[in-house]
């Protein structure tokens, strides 16, 4: 048996997007407590002196390291989804749009890898 919905599914103009929409919301909700925790932690670091040693001792604790990894993951995932829509909405020249979307994907991977690596390196060294 096939419902009428199955016949029209994927035939709309967009063909996709539910996943994009859902992950944008999931990462957004995750980041509400994480961002507040991060801002609080940054103030705490500033107040305790903000030296390199202060940062390393804070980030080498398991709670801070794990929360930072999750926060960074959510940041870069959310950032990629958001900037993708901005590019799709405002860049109308086809080749330029695709070039920018590819650049966004590669850039997001590079920056997220660099920041995740840094947190792990500090956590294991510190």
């Amino acid at each position: 048996m096939q419902t009428p919905l199955a016949r029209v599914r994927h035939l709309g103009a967009a063909k996709e997007g539910a996943d994009h929409w859902l992950w944008q919301r999931i990462t957004a909700i995750m980041m509400i407590p994480l961002a507040l925790w991060f801002v609080g932690s940054m103030w705490w670091l500033v107040i305790s002196g903000a030296s390199h040693a202060d940062l390393v001792s804070w980030l080498s604790g398991p709670v801070a390291a794990i929360l930072m990894l999750v926060f960074l993951g959510a940041i870069f995932f959310h950032l990629k989804l958001g900037l993708q829509v901005v590019i799709e909405d405002y860049v109308h020249t086809k080749w330029l749009k695709w070039a920018m979307l590819i650049k966004l994907t590669i850039g997001t991977l590079l920056f997220s890898a660099a920041s995740l690596y840094s947190v792990i390196a500090i956590a294991l060294k510190g």
Partner: protein, 131 residues
């Protein structure tokens, strides 16, 4: 088809801005600007992982006047984007769509974002100067 020369709707040059449209475009603008904050965060973490002599570069930049201005701007954009994001989450579950509710939540959101900004910098700086 001359795509570039055709005017696109909405015609912003004859469009009177309302609270709703201004808050909406600010959500995008703060989001794009926050992406630069994520890039700064990566540089900050990379220099921290590289050692104290490299971390000094991040500290030099972030404690310059440009750095302070950027930190203030990033924190304001973060609180704005977060509060307006919560507003979007309510819309996502179908709440607050009436015109009156949209304006009310817009005003409440600005108050919440301003309050978070004031609380963060107020408490943070007070604790810093109290030693």
């Amino acid at each position: 088809m001359a795509q570039g020369s055709r005017p696109l709707s909405p015609h912003l040059q004859v469009y009177r801005p309302q609270l709703t449209s201004v808050l909406s475009i600010l959500h995008r603008m703060t989001g794009v600007f926050l992406a630069s904050g994520a890039m700064m965060m990566t540089c900050w973490l990379l220099t921290a992982a590289a050692g104290p002599e490299y971390y000094a570069w991040s500290q030099w930049f972030l404690t310059s006047w440009v750095g302070y201005a950027l930190l203030a701007a990033w924190s304001w954009c973060l609180f704005y984007h977060m509060c307006n994001g919560v507003r979007h989450l309510f819309w996502d579950v179908g709440l607050g769509f009436s015109l009156k509710a949209t304006y009310t939540s817009g005003v409440l959101m600005i108050l919440a974002a301003t309050g978070l900004m004031a609380a963060s910098w107020g408490i943070g700086l007070a604790a810093y100067f109290a030693g």
